[in-house]
Symmetry: C2
Subunit: 352 residues, 2 copies
């Protein structure tokens, strides 16, 4: 970040919304505070003519209305979603794309129809390997005109917690979250959960569209095939304590007992614990991790009682999960600046 | 913008939300797409203990609960709100603060209790000149620890369309818009409409707090007193037509009939008209301005039928109001980078 951000990156930052980190305080993120990454433009969808088409390698293709989807049994999942590009600004050398610091996350109470029974109803034919999800958002990327489209391996698509979501936090999806219908794949980075869903196609080979072939892959060099991104890497974030200075966001904390709090999540496995450092990572102590009362796919709250002594401090938090993953202290580099789950560092000044 | 944006400015851009300009299509901005500028942190407010205090130069100071405010006659106003810093990035030389391009605007259907009857009830005493509004958001600015606070001249505070708003778009305010209560002053720049309102004080002299004395003033030089900002200057914005390229946001339009559309507003007077140019401002034509069906304080929709011919074009729109104000072609400069209502320019490539 030594060279600053270009006008093009600022254009993205101005239209894509981050979660102000103090909003980690809410179990479920209020609408309007959840992060939002829109590749192209937010489409306006007329639900009187909108249909979801399900076709491809299926025995009984289906065209279904929103009312018919809403009439099916509803499933609700509280799910933490994170952008695969979260943390990109901290990657060196600098990667040009949406310049997320750490705020590309949010948790929604999503409600919709489960995908698996719909796929059973249309009858996935022999030879199927993936399911493709196409949105209504259109644009140009990599010099290709395209609709936003991403696929899932058939096994993931058949998970019973994968939803076609029409509600969030008890109300119809707002336009920016995919009205009238979006895919919701708990535990996977946000690019998977295709918004403004119009078509589901069962495929007999892996999808090679732009968002699968080029974007959202871990590569060490331009041009190599790389590995596709999928599950959200383990991370903890902290509510910056005290009060901010407007321009610099520098934090000022009153000396004495100070409760540090935040959230931790992982798409790979259950969160096993969160460690906190108040000396820039030289020493670490266990934070108290609250039970997962919101279900497997939601972030978990953690807290740590700190006796803040006057002076300058660097606060850090570091999560680990049951699969043995732990956050790195330094930002890993890759061509796209993806999946940077390096430890958050919050500088604070403690005053008498 | 030739030198780029600093990390500090990016931190602001990441937490303050702009209206993606395609959302100008909605008469009333869906929650989550309205612009949002938060000086400090979004506070969490417990409504069981929250009260609004009304005191200062009044005969009968009042402490009132949210339920009591909701029990009073409700007033609804559809109001377009814009940040005084909108357009700041286009000001040269560069001004360091929240780096808005053009997206710091939105329109809400606000509902609440009118302020004037409350002030009549408490009895504004002789000698009163201003009314001060204090929020619950705390931070440091200009090396002063402060709560966010702004005042209004008594005459403006007594306008019958000034609200203490508890709802927006038919639901309780979300946290980021000032839950449980905010001031809403139609026609004034957004800094006036204090969020997370906790106290109203009637003053016998002009308020000289930081947000009044230092911020939100038009100055040609640091240190001079300058003129306070108040009413929103006339502006039109356009929905960028066609489809975007992801990174550059460059627009591609199909040749043929293309409806250009957008919104226009002014806090000074009724919008009188909108002119459109498709040749970078060399020639202008009248756009069709729709009636103000949402009331005086809401933006008005405009449209213009363009026969798009293949090639490169620069589209512009320029509004004027009944007070004789018209948008400038070049960005005016001032120390804070405020009130830059220069004409929007949208470059498009028209393809066969």
């Amino acid at each position: 970040m030594s060279e600053g951000i270009s006008l093009e990156e600022l254009q993205l930052a101005a239209r894509n919304h981050g979660l102000p980190l103090e909003a980690l305080r809410w179990d479920v993120t209020p609408v309007g505070l959840h992060y939002l990454l829109t590749h192209y433009d937010i489409p306006v969808v007329d639900t009187t003519s909108w249909r979801l088409e399900i076709d491809g390698l299926v025995e009984r293709p289906l065209s279904i209305s929103l009312d018919d989807l809403r009439a099916r049994p509803a499933v609700e999942v509280v799910s933490t979603m994170e952008c695969a590009g979260n943390g990109r600004v901290h990657v060196e050398p600098h990667v040009v794309s949406q310049p997320w610091l750490l705020e590309a996350v949010g948790t929604g109470r999503w409600r919709g129809a489960a995908l698996a029974p719909l796929l059973e109803e249309v009858g996935v034919a022999a030879g199927a390997v993936e399911v493709l999800f196409e949105g209504l958002d259109r644009g140009v990327e990599g010099e290709e005109e395209q609709v936003y489209a991403r696929s899932l391996p058939l096994g993931e698509a058949m998970r019973d917690d994968v939803l076609l979501a029409y509600d969030v936090n008890g109300a119809a999806l707002p336009p920016q979250h995919g009205f009238p219908l979006r895919l919701l794949v708990p535990g996977w980075y946000g690019m998977t959960s295709v918004k403004w869903l119009a078509r589901i196609r069962v495929l007999d080979r892996p999808f090679d569209g732009y968002q699968q072939r080029h974007s959202y892959r871990l590569r060490q060099e331009e041009g190599e095939t790389g590995e596709p991104l999928s599950r959200i890497q383990v991370r903890a974030l902290m509510v910056p304590p005290g009060i901010p200075e407007y321009l610099t966001r520098a934090r000022v904390v009153q000396a004495g007992e100070c409760v540090l709090e935040g959230r931790a999540w992982s798409g790979e496995a259950e969160v096993a614990g969160v460690d906190v450092s108040t000396d820039g990572g030289e020493s670490w102590a266990d934070a108290e991790l609250e039970p997962d009362s919101l279900g497997r796919w939601a972030w978990r709250r953690w807290r740590y009682e700190w006796n803040a002594e006057p002076g300058e401090h660097e606060l850090c938090c570091r999560a680990r999960d049951d699969a043995g993953n732990v956050q790195p202290l330094e930002s890993p580099w890759n061509v796209g600046g993806y999946a940077n789950n390096a430890v958050q560092r919050v500088a604070v000044t403690v005053t008498e």
